[in-house]
Subunit: 234 residues, 2 copies
């Protein structure tokens, strides 16, 4: 089974394309060792994709020709879900970026909560991981990864969502998203830090009209809760 | 919020307990720095649990006294799910052990498939990870981690399950477990390797009466599929 590599690049999907992006050329030539004739899939980052083959590959640029018609990407979620997830240790936060993207979220907002230990993130790296995960999972676009926000700022941001779910340890795996997942609807998912939400945070989430939700009788640690909530919401 | 540490140890939950296990004593004294008076939760690995406090802590042993009554653990799944997952790179396989345990699986069988690259596992390490995840997620027992099996042997093992799901990339997120999750029912989940199942494997799974299932329109890589399937099945 030959794997077809996919790339999300913001370009119109013409019948012939010239690629000059140095980083991409480097990856294609040196890491993936593409040769003339290689078939790849390109997405325009706006929901369209097409197959191309390489007709020439030089240090100065790559020339591609489209094979067949432009298609509509089928893997984007009909829901616009934003994951507001407490910042975790570097490797776990990177895991969340990768997996939540695979699971279909449209936006990720790292949260600095009252009990968040680590507060800074490497945004460029997180965006790269999310973009790669989007490409590999067959998505048409990479999720939007935000700068970290305080819980207060995130609650304000979340006002644009039709429904926001505030995940809290509890029992009973409720059918949390039943009926909420309509075409184009905005959903917010709030996942706390290892030490849990503070009482003040829980109070302000309730005051903001959020729906308190649980992922069942077992305690899922932060990154697991983010991954599962992301899957269920999309 | 003070975290209460939980331990699954195979012992009867008497009113007073003596612990002499050297590894456990080492962890309690040196890693967790427990002192006299510390409250901990013990599970007997058979579905019961109780709170204890430390009344004496010496190199030779720890004496515990029970606080309150013995309780029934509430976090075990009513379903008996077995995850048959293709062996992955060490860190990813460890991730699956941890997350699938949090999500409630009862057994994990590492699979050596036609396209499995890595074929050996460190069973003791995997069992430790699963036990720790069971303790932290509030479960009453650790899942049973098997020696790796070939797909053929796993298909034979899976005959004892009431239903087996063979996960394959496809579109449409079907309500795969609807109606199947009855009290005590045995469910099998087959997750393939990075390169996918071989045609022969797919054919033999179908011949064995397995239900071909999909986790939706996005391609979930091996470890993600294992985590999501484990959550959905329990």
């Amino acid at each position: 089974m030959k794997k077809v590599h996919r790339f999300i690049i913001e370009t119109d999907l013409g019948t012939s394309l010239e690629i000059h992006d140095a980083q991409l050329l480097d990856q294609w030539a040196k890491v993936l060792k593409f040769k003339v004739g290689e078939e790849i899939e390109l997405c325009d980052g706006r929901g369209k994709e097409a197959t191309y083959h390489i007709v020439s590959l030089k240090k100065s640029g790559v020339t591609l020709e489209r094979v067949g018609a432009i298609r509509k990407n089928q893997a984007e979620s009909k829901v616009h879900a934003t994951l507001y997830a407490a910042v975790l240790k570097k490797d776990l936060l990177e895991l969340v970026m990768q997996k939540a993207t695979e699971c279909g979220v449209s936006e990720i907002v790292p949260l600095v909560t009252d009990r968040t230990v680590k507060k800074s993130v490497k945004l460029e790296r997180l965006r790269e991981i999310a973009k790669e995960a989007a490409e590999q999972s067959g998505r048409g676009k990479a999720p939007n990864i935000h700068e970290p926000l305080s819980v207060k700022a995130a609650l304000a941001h979340a006002k644009m969502n039709a429904a926001n779910y505030f995940f809290h340890v509890g029992d009973g795996k409720s059918e949390i998203f039943k009926g909420a997942k309509k075409e184009g609807v905005r959903i917010g998912l709030f996942i706390g830090p290892e030490g849990g939400w503070s009482d003040e945070e829980a109070t302000s989430a309730t005051a903001a009209g959020m729906i308190t939700a649980s992922l069942g009788p077992r305690v899922l640690i932060g990154e697991t809760a983010s991954i599962i909530a992301a899957f269920l919401a999309n």
